[in-house]
């Protein structure tokens, strides 16, 4: 049972890798950005766990800005992905412009909340 699940896990991992390698480059770039943002958020959480949460608004705004840009980048990826039939007639430039606008608003609020 364990061996077969181990083999299954390996086969699964392999097929995931091959399937992911087939995605277009622009989507991979967005995925990289999302990963970076989440990693930064995790680093901030670990730092807070070590040092204490005294200026809580700074911690909150830092983490929420990372999570926020990750979420917005995922939204951009959804809209730009050619395989999504729903967004067939949405120009990628428009999607990117919306992404930039939303990020502007997010970071304006974060800068205000940072203290």
């Amino acid at each position: 049972m364990a061996r077969s699940s181990g083999k299954d896990a390996q086969a699964l991992f392999q097929s995931l890798c091959t399937a992911y390698a087939a995605t277009p480059t622009n989507l991979k770039i967005i995925d990289l950005y999302v990963g970076f943002a989440v990693l930064t958020a995790l680093i901030q959480v670990v730092y807070m766990a070590l040092v204490g949460s005294f200026p809580f608004n700074s911690f909150l705004s830092g983490v929420l800005s990372c999570v926020g840009t990750a979420v917005l980048a995922v939204c951009l990826r959804i809209q730009v992905n050619k395989e999504n039939k729903e967004f067939k007639d949405l120009a990628p430039e428009r999607a990117f412009a919306d992404f930039v606008l939303c990020n502007l608003v997010l970071h304006l609020v974060i800068m205000n909340f940072l203290g």
Binding site: L12, L16, A22, V67, C75, Q79, D89, D98, F99, L106
Partner: protein, 720 residues
Amino acid sequence: MTSTASSNSKLPPKTSVPQSTQYHRLHSLNWTINWPSMAAPESSTATTAVNNTLRHAFGNVLSFFILLLIGVLAFSIRLFSVIKYESVIHEFDPYFNYRVTQFLSKNGIYEFWNWFDDRTWYPLGRVIGGTVYPGLTLTAGTIWWFLNSLNIPLSVETVCVFTAPIFSAFASWATYLLTKEVKGSGAGLTAAALLAMVPSYISRSVAGSYDNEAVAIFALIFTFYLYIKTLNMGSLFYATLNALSYFYMVCSWGGYTFIINLIPMHVLLCIVTGRYCPRLYIAYAPLVVLGTVLAALVPIVGFNAVMTSEHFASFLVFIVIHVVALVYYIKGILSPKMFKVAVTLVVSAGLAVCCAMMAVLIALVASSPTKGWSGRSLSLLDPTYASKYIPIIASVSEHQPPTWPSYFMDINVLAFLVPAGIIACFSPLSDASSFVVLYIVTSVYFSGVMVRLMLVLAPAACILSGIALSQAFDVLARSIKFQLPGFPTNSEVDAGDSNPITVEAKNNAPKTDKTGEPSKDRPSRKNKKKGKEQAERPSVKGKPEKKRLLVLPMGASILALLLLVLLSAFYVVHSVWAAAEAYSAPSIVLTSYSHDGLHVFDDFREAYAWLSHNTDVDHKVASWWDYGYQTTAMANRTVIVDNNTWNNTHIATVGTAMSSPEKAAWEIFNSLDVKYVLVVFGGLVGYPSDDINKFLWMVRIGGGVFPHIKEPDYLVNSFL
């Protein structure tokens, strides 16, 4: 906006099919107004194109004027108290808001944010900047500043008095937009007209009722509209606007927790019923992150935005939607066999991790005595909570459960149009209509707990009744139209206005025009699309589309139409009566009719004017907390307790002093530096809500903190 001849028959049906993947915009589907001159002769496509353009333009202009009239109606029905009495601020809470707005207009916004008020809660004071919902005062202050910069010299009081009617006009326009997203513009206009007059909303937004709900209901409806619009369109731009509108709602009213719990509930509903789509993610995830940060920006909410249980639902659903999105993504890129393998692996490993995390979370929440909820929210969820533990919340008359007649008084005819609207929402069921159904169900429950929350029920009732009425008028008018003498009654009739039910029956309509549709959906209001469809029609006409339209007998439908109009007339008459007689009393000016005519009692203002003329500026005035705001605003004296009721012990101290014999009471008041005690006595004219009536609450609240005050001591037959 007009239901043109050809467009309806070929547009794709709404998302009754789950996981429909069409990027469609709802308002391109014309569910709307019946036009008398419907029979479009297929003689030449050019003339029909011109006809359609004309009808379209006429429809747009007509609905613009209708909306303008609805706004004027909403504004003017709220002016009864200004006409009958004067342009004065009503009740108690609005006086505090008025005083804060005066301060803001005099001293500017930085002083307002940092204002520490030492004229209330005498030894303690109150941090105004951090304990007030700033939306209303900032809105009125901005309007006042803007008008004054244009050299229109309106006083602050005038602006405050008329803020509520103006925002109720905005609210009815927002209702139009929301209902248009759900069912089309005919239903939208009906719902807007109903909201302009619904008595429950009038009661809290009459001219002079300068309270949070005046702007908050507009913000609520507008936020819901933007959420539905984002859900329908999948556009990140509207998601940003949604978050900003939610921010305005958080600034305005404590009821914003309703939004941040209803939207996650709807998202969960969509996921559970298998209607997850990427648009749902775009509608929800940015709202949560942006909304939380924006809510934390408002001082009164602060860190409560991430630490209280009211917000946990949104975070939970945030995690759930990410898991679901990941699952769909992996399902999309793997083959079905590998996906099954993945599922078994993940389920076995992930379940253990999940249980561990849930246990930790539950332990954390259970360790706080109120399970992380605030007192008011707990009293909403458990209606008996307040009367057991927090007598102050229980004593406010607007926190009592409503009686059955108050439903009929407050939403009148809508009370039995709502079930019809709920049924109409299910055919077909889309994300937007499931949201509206969820909204009405939750708001009916909460309105049953507190009569004050009938206000949240009102917009939902108007939306659903608007949908029901509009559908009914649709069917009846169509029945009459198609049975008029000399009208072609064959299958050409797919030229007609389509009932959503019957459009669904044609789900297997030619696929050719379906795929052609979505790419043309973007310029949906543009007439060239309709013209192009006109050109396509002859080619499709080859397949006879036998549409079974719902048609009732002529006599019955005329009678039903008349009865519906009569019903609406009853509603209008009732609303105007309620606005004029029941909800326009300013409650600081009282009238009574006696044998020698009308007496007007201005006792409250006379008393405050006496205080302000005959006492020193530093003298402290003690009264029951009801009159605190009015005393500080009109008499300009320091009070001990006021309507904010944030400090139960302080109120209990005053209550004890009111319930004790003279010597003990003198000791208490002396320790608080009180110089004057204000007591309201209504025995001379039979005024029913004076301090003698409230006396038992003083005893109860005092006894809640000081055990030597026992309620049975104050009752005559205390052994009963």
